[in-house]
Subunit: 195 residues, 2 copies
DNA sequence: AACAACTTTGACAATACTGTCAATAATGGA
DNA sequence: TCCATTATTGACAGTATTGTCAAAGTTGTT
């Protein structure tokens, strides 16, 4: 490379994710992103062409990390504990110290899924990925005789439920409520009792 | 009244609900609403002051009808069938003939909850109302010995789940997937077997 | 019929946002 | 060191959106 980029792309994308999470896709302007990242608007256009593409870059950056994170959280050999752990950290992430930060992907789905086919595809792929990670863990739980439901159906159900929790967060900002919701769901799921 | 309003408010609000559902709160402009309702932008400003207030009017119009609708759907004396019926019609409404119509309240929550305290309050009240209707039906189910879970926790869980289904709709537009999700949830819920 | 009260209408100003571009600056490689 | 290449910067034009307002229109009431 000859004229090399001055700004740190990793950093810019992380900030973009944060801004999109807080303000939502539509309400976030290129000027917002420029201000918060400290990178001139013109530079952002030069690097990413437009908001849609910048969003796509940020989103794939986010999902790559997120899916790995999810898989890590599900490592506990006890299936019920694994999912409990996962949901607990997800809730904690949603109700982090930063007041107004919501769920990046859920906001994006509600606002940007219709925007263009590329964004729609990214969002679909992400949910598919999430579902697969969950399904695989449920499959393993069945092999371990720790679960007796249908992995595919249950995975797609859990994906929906976590999206729902993200919506609830927007309204109540109440960690306890969100915790109660996922605990209720876990209680109802057909995990088998393990000594 | 002397200078009486020319447009039919009921009709305008219904169209507004439809436009907000399709485009989302932010992407809907006063011009959009003017075009689709056939009412001049100036008249809308005169009647509702601004977009936030117009939205509030439309939203309360929507929720009034929706909560009554929900209560009706839950009339079936068999609790599991009642909830099955409810979720079935909710899914059908989401996947109606109109291609791009999503869930009005869920879109609003993700986009407009932060906008102003009044909107936030309306959204909270709506979810509270929904939860109460569901909780009451579950309470009755317990009295009828058709259900053995906690009504409050289960109601708030079901509110979250339905929001989640609305999010899923945005991505997959797949009625079968949504049906499978709520059926899975119903299977897992502790309804007691009734002869 | 005349009036008061309200609505409708179209025009207007102000602002916000997007996307582009030319000039300038920076930098790795020859 | 010089050059080719890319990034940065600030300005610009174009469009979109909001909100306001005065003029005109409408209608129930007296």
């Amino acid at each position: 490379m000859v004229g090399t980029r001055k700004f740190n792309e990793e950093e810019v994308l992380n900030i973009a994710i944060d801004v999109f999470s807080r303000k939502g896709f539509n309400a976030t302007t290129m000027l917002d992103l420029a201000k918060e990242t400290g990178v001139q608007r013109g530079s952002l256009y030069n690097a990413y062409q437009n908001k849609d593409l910048l969003f796509l870059k940020a989103f794939s950056h986010y999902t790559d990390k997120f899916l790995i994170f999810i898989e890590g959280e599900l490592q506990n050999p006890n299936a019920k504990e694994a999912f409990s752990q996962l949901l607990k950290t997800v809730v904690e992430r949603l109700c982090g110290d930063k007041e107004a930060r919501g769920c990046f992907s859920t906001r994006a789905i509600m606002e940007a899924a219709q925007k263009c086919p590329d964004i729609h595809l990214s969002l679909t792929r992400f949910l598919d990925g999430l579902e697969t990670v969950i399904k695989n863990r449920l499959q393993k739980a069945i092999e371990d005789k720790q679960f007796i439901g249908d992995p595919q159906a249950t995975a797609s159900y859990l994906v929906a439920l976590t999206r729902g929790i993200a919506v609830i967060e927007r309204v109540y900002h109440d960690k306890e409520r969100m915790t109660e919701i996922y605990q209720t769901a876990l209680e109802y799921m057909p995990f088998t009792k393990v000594s």
